[in-house]
């Protein structure tokens, strides 16, 4: 009988490394993608008769930095907490789904947690990378959609639009904080 190599004995070993590499680059990776890559590499992990579930279960067991998030279609996405925060990974997972939900949940979290409104242009940068048109379209839809009534806007004295959730932030407070973040802090160096 053929002697099993290290990788054959532990076919889940490359999984952790692949996830860490992606996380270091600021990316998450789905289970499906991982399996495809393992197959493409001719990984013995794929040729071995290890069930997929078992593969990932062992990988998680032995690598406590490996974490998983599920998107709205219940697809599993992996990241390494050594290189990526849960907050960032969540944003990347949301990015793959409904952009309305991405924006709304981000706005709500900021209004609740910090608390603060956030500038509209934030959604153009990483990890969101939405276009101006996408952002405008989402804001337009939110105005008329049930479940998004709490999302509101305020504009600072220099014309920057900030977004907040009325469920967590009083409108006057949001306006004042937006002005502070956009103008006040820079006038009080």
């Amino acid at each position: 009988m053929e002697e099993l190599s290290g990788e054959e004995k532990k076919p889940w070993a490359p999984v952790a490394e692949m996830v860490r590499e992606r996380s270091k680059e600021g990316k998450i990776v789905s289970q499906k993608e991982l399996l495809k890559e393992l197959a493409a590499q001719g990984s013995k992990a794929h040729r071995a008769e290890t069930a997929e579930a078992e593969l990932f279960r062992k990988a998680f067991e032995e690598n406590e930095d490996l974490k998983e998030l599920r998107d709205q279609d219940e697809e599993a996405w992996l990241y390494s907490s050594k290189w990526m925060s849960e907050a960032y990974a969540k944003a990347l997972v949301r990015r793959r789904g409904d952009p309305l939900l991405l924006m709304a949940e981000t706005i709500r979290e900021n209004s609740l947690k910090y608390p603060r409104p956030i500038p509209l242009h934030l959604f153009q940068d990483l990890p969101f990378e939405m276009t101006e048109e996408e952002i405008e379209s989402c804001l337009g839809k939110m105005k008329n959609l049930e479940g998004y009534e709490d999302i509101a806007q305020t504009t600072t004295s220099i014309g920057t639009v900030f977004l907040y959730s009325k469920a967590h932030l009083d409108p006057d407070h949001a306006a004042m904080l937006a002005e502070w973040l956009d103008v006040g802090q820079f006038n009080n160096p």
Partner: protein, 701 residues
Amino acid sequence: MVRYGGWSGKVLRVDLSSGRIWTEDTIEKYRDFLGGTGIGYKVLWDEVPAGTKPFDPGNKIIFGVGPLAGTGAPCNGRTAITTLWPTCSPMPLVATGHMGGHFAAALKYAGYDAIVIEGKADRPVWLSIVDQKVEIKDARRLWGQGIRRTTIDISQEIGAEASVAAIGQAGENLVPMSVVINSFSHSAGGVGAVMGSKNLKAIGVLGTGSVHIAADKSEWEKLIKLHLSLLGANNQHVVPNSPQPWAEYYSPGSRWVASKGRRWGAADPPLETGTCDPHEVNRIAYRTNNAAYFLGKEIWKYTIRGNGCTSCPIRCHTMLKVPAAKAKYGFSEVGQNTCVGLLFGRSFFKTIPDGPQGQTALEACMVGMHLADDLGIWCNYGQLQRDLIKLYYDGYIKQKLGEKEFKSYSWDKYEKGDPTFLMELLPRIANKDGELATALGLGTGYMLARWGISEEEWKKDYNAVYWKMGHPKHHSNEDAGQCGVIINTQYNRDAQCHSHSNFTRNGLPLEVQKRLAAEIWGSPDAVDAVGAYTPMNRYKARMAKWSLLRKELHDSLSLCNWMGPWVASPLKERGYRGDDSLESLLYSLATGDRKSREELDQVAERIFLLHRALTIRDMGTVEMRTKHDTIPAWVFYDPAGKAPFSKGTNRMDPKDMETAMDMFYEEMEWDPKTGAPTESAYRKVGLAAVADELKKKGGLP
């Protein structure tokens, strides 16, 4: 005989009237006051009687550094300059200016912990310090020159490695609103004219020695590595300003602006700042770009690199290359500064074409920096600019100037936000050329008196943010509610305290800030969400006391209060905790004089109380609460009429602030009626002799 580390061991004394130069033993005379402002206050208390004026030969100017200056401790590049303050109105009182750069380290390497200058030379001179060789040299060829030419000239004489602190024409002409500058862009405001009054053009220091560290080398290195690991970006902002893969939190208001795609575009080759994981301590210098922070993301393409003080990895000065500065205005393309110094030029204009982050704003900043930093003009934390705006748009300038002088200024350019206006105004301020320039150069308090304008008029203006005694607020209620207001009542110029604002602006979510606040000041109620303030409590008073004492400690040790204290950190694995004992650990290891955090805080309290004693003595009153610790009317105002303690306002409540001052005095163990330290408060911190002297003069409650 104990050999301490940290201190060089000598204080240099220079009498410019007699030409006498001598030294004192730092440890023998000043150890209990550490260095920096501590030495400054001690000298003024012991040697400069009440009634002395800033430009009298009997006034002394003390350039003090602390035992940590010139060591490997991060953020140690500060020199504290203590003297009687020319812009403090209606009477001069003790105050301090602070400059970064390389002067502090150079002084230590030359073998000195402080320079005390008194008297007045009979002709322009500069002080040459080359290690132990100290000479008073003729400066007549330098007099009338700007700071830059003076710096080059002196460096050519004593060595390119020298650090030169020089005044410009403003200081020479005894303009109270003047600075001393070293290392191109590192200024200390308010002291230029005191040097000018002594005919002292500059101090050039070349030091080839080193600073002895008492501790075992590995112990010291371990502590430095700990300190580095806890650093955030400028002002100890501990989260990035946009989402980063490693970061759980971020804040659009953070000065941690590094990110993938943000590059120092004018570097050769351009340099990517990257994501700057906080564990990568070799990338600390990439985190901050204050020019981009203040002037917008277009600035990245003009950024050469960061710059800053000796041994500080933060690099809070930004070096810019702006071709228009030369092409349109005839100044060098390259300029550098930070914060208020960077914004000096733009801040004069109420409106500016293409907005506060447009191209014209950038050009105004470059023109302003080059002019102010060469002529040596001080902005009084932006009050100079706010005063000009108010004086012009409220009609005072037209009213107070004669027609000829009024027409001599291009007010159309001023209204349009044309940076060339600065080329008219700033040289005139430096040379006291005309009534407007002279008045502006006096500082706000004396300017108002000269023009017969009521100080109350300024105190009620929400936009002027004037506080008292000629100076503005500096991180007040907008940053930290009642704690910020208390802090702003305590000094004789703007408070320059960042202990509290560094914390409230660190970018962490409120629940994390509250958790840390509970650990440091005893309750999560010490901090509120900005703009959602709650009534006063004793934990806020504790935070105010801690903030003030730590500021004095930093100014005496030579640690940068624009960075410390380091009670929050970017490290999730520490729960975002910093270390509240860092100052005492650094002090103990550097000097060998082991002190706990509490013991060192008591030394800081001694230094702070000495400042208070000086103020009481020189004001000739013990009624500090009503005559000194005052709060301007605008603090109790909201433009939209919102009530105090409602969400969306920084407006304070007068009764609540009375309670706040009561609680603060109680925390300090001062008399609540007068706001003056009691005899036992002085004795508790080792100032019995000060208490005795004040007792004779009615300076105790």
